[in-house]
Symmetry: C2
Subunit: 340 residues, 2 copies
């Protein structure tokens, strides 16, 4: 591996500077991504065509010189593999023609290894990406967390409140647990297959944990994240529970994982709660990349100093599609010129 700074950081080493990558780095911020995307029928064609997914995965490694690649995909491939197809509607978001309404709907779902094995195009994309990377940087694979995937499978689309999914926890807790179990089994099989086909680091995205509360997230989120963390011993695992500030103490009890942080969480607070040795990832406010380059550098350096080591630099959210490339480059440059 030519650049292994991410792997060394995840192994607990003290590195000369923190590694840096961006959530959604393979995406609309890059003109070469937009060119490929414009030639296709839709986002799902890109996700399901291994050659193209591999190509856009490697683009930011060439164009931005980030310290890792993350395989281009979508968290909703898991519900689809379990039997709930989805569409991605331009400028609107995902739509599931069928959703989970009753116990029988859950009983009919495929799950575990059988479901995970359906996602052959993802594993091919990983292999093709590794060929193109040729040992330059490590490759990250990812999955949605059980709670976040349950949200979509119940609601059938995004939501400001995910009230239908939350209603299930209070009105039909057994149904919720049944679905969470099947999701967790599938996610574990999927992540293990990703490792088998080339993922060297894994990240689990819990995008909607912030709509819960500490007791509910303990019961319907962290319990299952813990199960995933125990099952994955092949490669380092990063858990990103967005908005779950109320559960940071509980998340810090999960051993052996790195924790991703959103931009609202103060680095000093997170370090205090999680301990000096915990590997933390994040968390610059993505809208700071709209500022001038001096501001970006100053705020990035301030953040790195606050985390004080054992830190993977990232934004606190996926990079916003209209972020100017000059801002992205200033951010990465600020990390690369930092010295602990």
């Amino acid at each position: 591996m030519q650049n292994d700074i991410l792997l060394r950081t995840l192994a607990g080493e003290n590195t000369e500077r923190p590694p840096v990558w961006l959530m959604r780095q393979a995406g609309r911020i890059l003109p070469e991504y937009r060119a490929i995307r414009a030639s296709l029928s839709g986002f799902k064609e890109l996700v399901s065509t291994p050659d193209l997914a591999a190509e856009v995965t490697v683009q930011p490694v060439d164009a931005l010189e980030v310290d890792a690649a993350i395989v281009f995909s979508d968290i909703l491939v898991i519900p689809e593999a379990m039997g709930l197809d989805y569409e991605l509607i331009e400028k609107v978001g995902p739509r599931f023609p069928r959703v989970i309404e009753r116990k029988a709907d859950i009983e009919q779902l495929e799950y575990g290894q059988v479901a995970a094995e359906r996602l052959d195009y993802v594993y091919q994309a990983l292999e093709k990406t590794q060929e193109r990377l040729a040992g330059r940087v490590p490759l990250i694979g990812f999955a949605g967390a059980p709670w976040t995937l349950l949200c979509y499978m119940i609601e059938g689309q995004g939501s400001k409140t995910f009230a239908k999914a939350r209603r299930l926890l209070h009105a039909e807790p057994e149904m919720a647990e049944m679905l969470m179990d099947k999701l967790t089994d599938t996610i574990i099989s999927y992540l293990k297959l990703k490792v088998k086909h080339g993922a060297q680091v894994l990240q689990v995205f819990d995008s909607w944990s912030g709509v819960l509360s500490r007791p509910l997230y303990a019961k319907y989120g962290i319990k299952y994240l813990q199960r995933i963390a125990e099952a994955i011993d092949e490669v380092p695992l990063i858990l990103f529970s967005k908005g779950a500030w109320f559960s940071l103490t509980d998340l810090a009890q999960i051993e052996g994982v790195a924790l991703g942080l959103d931009w609202q969480t103060d680095p000093l607070l997170a370090r205090d709660v999680c301990g000096a040795d915990r590997i933390l990832q994040g968390n610059l406010d993505p809208t700071i990349l709209y500022a001038n380059e001096e501001d970006i550098a100053a705020k990035t350096h301030k953040m790195i100093s606050a985390f004080g080591g054992h830190h993977i630099v990232n934004l606190g959210h996926g990079v916003y599609p209209d972020t100017p490339l000059t801002g992205v480059r200033a951010f990465i440059q600020a990390v690369k010129t930092f010295n602990y």
Copy 2:
């Protein structure tokens, strides 16, 4: 006043039980509201017709026996009074045909007393509500907070990230401050006129504070809330900064106001940060009202005990439109049977 338990609590008295009302209590949860709404062209007709607004404002006082009425209106009447019209599209949300794009757009806005005086239909609705209430319970008036209104005036609609509005803070901070100043002046004039026409308590909703961070919210949110708090000395003021957990310490520095809390904030933590005498409002997870009546009562009593007095019971968010009335009634009943 026949039932003044809300006013006594806001005056700092130790009451026999906490008062209770619900955000969005005048709304779709009530069949009598849906009946009126179905006969109209749209939500805006209801907001702008004083007789009808007064009627739906009083409905929950009759139907649910809550301890306060809150005048039926919309936070977006302020941008409209300043010169930015909006439409409310059924099942989609607000849409502004024109948004703020450059300094000149802000220079052209009406603001302060002149803008506030345009909202005569709101003041009429307050007066007509007071006639119908006939001294039964106090009447709450409300406004959106400057940051939340800026979000809509920049974005032109709702957003998951409000990235355009946040971009302004980093890329055009002077423009942001110019708009915040005009909004704050208008909100203060508006709230004072509301008091003049019958509001006995005021609440300011900062619905999108959660997308900021502690330093940004201090600069672009709390600074202006502080200005509003200093200007309003006629009646008690409640500030509800949703999602702003990171700023609770700063909010607690604003003297003489009650603080609303979302459902993610643990009552014991809030009490610890805000002090024993601070009046706190909230914060049951609204999805708990989908549970059975015993669960609702148990969780409501547990929450009241945790706040330990100086507390106004509410949900941590507006009541969700499909909440069963049995759940709402169980919640209110649980408060009314509580004894400190």
